[in-house]
Amino acid sequence: AQTVTQSQPEMSVQEAETVTLSCTYDTSENNYYLFWYKQPPSRQMILVIRQEAYKQQNATENRFSVNFQKAAKSFSLKISDSQLGDTAMYFCASLIYNTDKLIFGTGTRLQVFP
């Protein structure tokens, strides 16, 4: 079975600081994708970053980067230079290649303080 675990229900960070959100997953498959989604108070889910499991290089999107540790099945999200607009729920998710079932973690609520 495919599972995604986010062990931090809530996190907070001061504006301009760096924060890391944790995610671990479990799958027996070799080909899969990992994602971080952001859900601000507007409720619109926004894709933040994605990682193909076959790529060793960690994905980066501007202030957002991941630390993908395949052997440890860990996929953490680092937000640098945190901004007030980063305040949101963050969901980690996994998708097995050639399937369409995205499996989500339970989410981490991030609060950015001025």
């Binding site: 995604v4 507007s42 409720r43 894709l47 994605r50 969901f91 369409d100 079932k101 995205l102 499996i103």
Partner: protein, 115 residues
């Protein structure tokens, strides 16, 4: 831009009512999904559909059914609403799996309260 539109942002229904949640996408996506979002539980897949008139059960299909008569529209049906179905419901769509360019597009959610 892709739009996934859910017909209601908030909905209040009574126990036992039949409830329809509608979702429409405008990008000719083959795949459509219904998720339920609850605090501490994340998003859980209820049903999904690969094509018109096709449906597959997700992880928590009990108490729900779906309908996909047209490619752009995917309806979630609560045959007899119960209080434990009070939740946020999110619809999503994507192109058929390419294995490379996966991206799920979400609607803005329907917050359903069953009294």
């Amino acid at each position: 831009d892709v739009k996934v539109t859910q017909s209601s942002r908030y909905l209040v229904k009574r126990t036992g009512e039949k409830v329809f949640l509608e979702c429409v996408q405008d990008m000719d996506h083959e795949n459509m999904f219904w998720y339920r979002q609850d605090p501490g539980l994340g998003l859980r897949l209820i049903y999904f559909s690969y094509d018109v008139k096709m449906k597959e059960k997700g992880d928590i299909p009990e108490g729900y059914s779906v309908s996909r008569e047209k490619k752009e529209r995917f309806s979630l049906i609560l045959e007899s609403a119960s209080t434990n179905q009070t939740s946020m419901y999110l619809c999503a769509s994507t192109y058929a799996s390419t294995g490379i360019n996966e991206k799920l597009f979400f609607g803005s959610g329907t917050q359903l309260s069953v009294l």
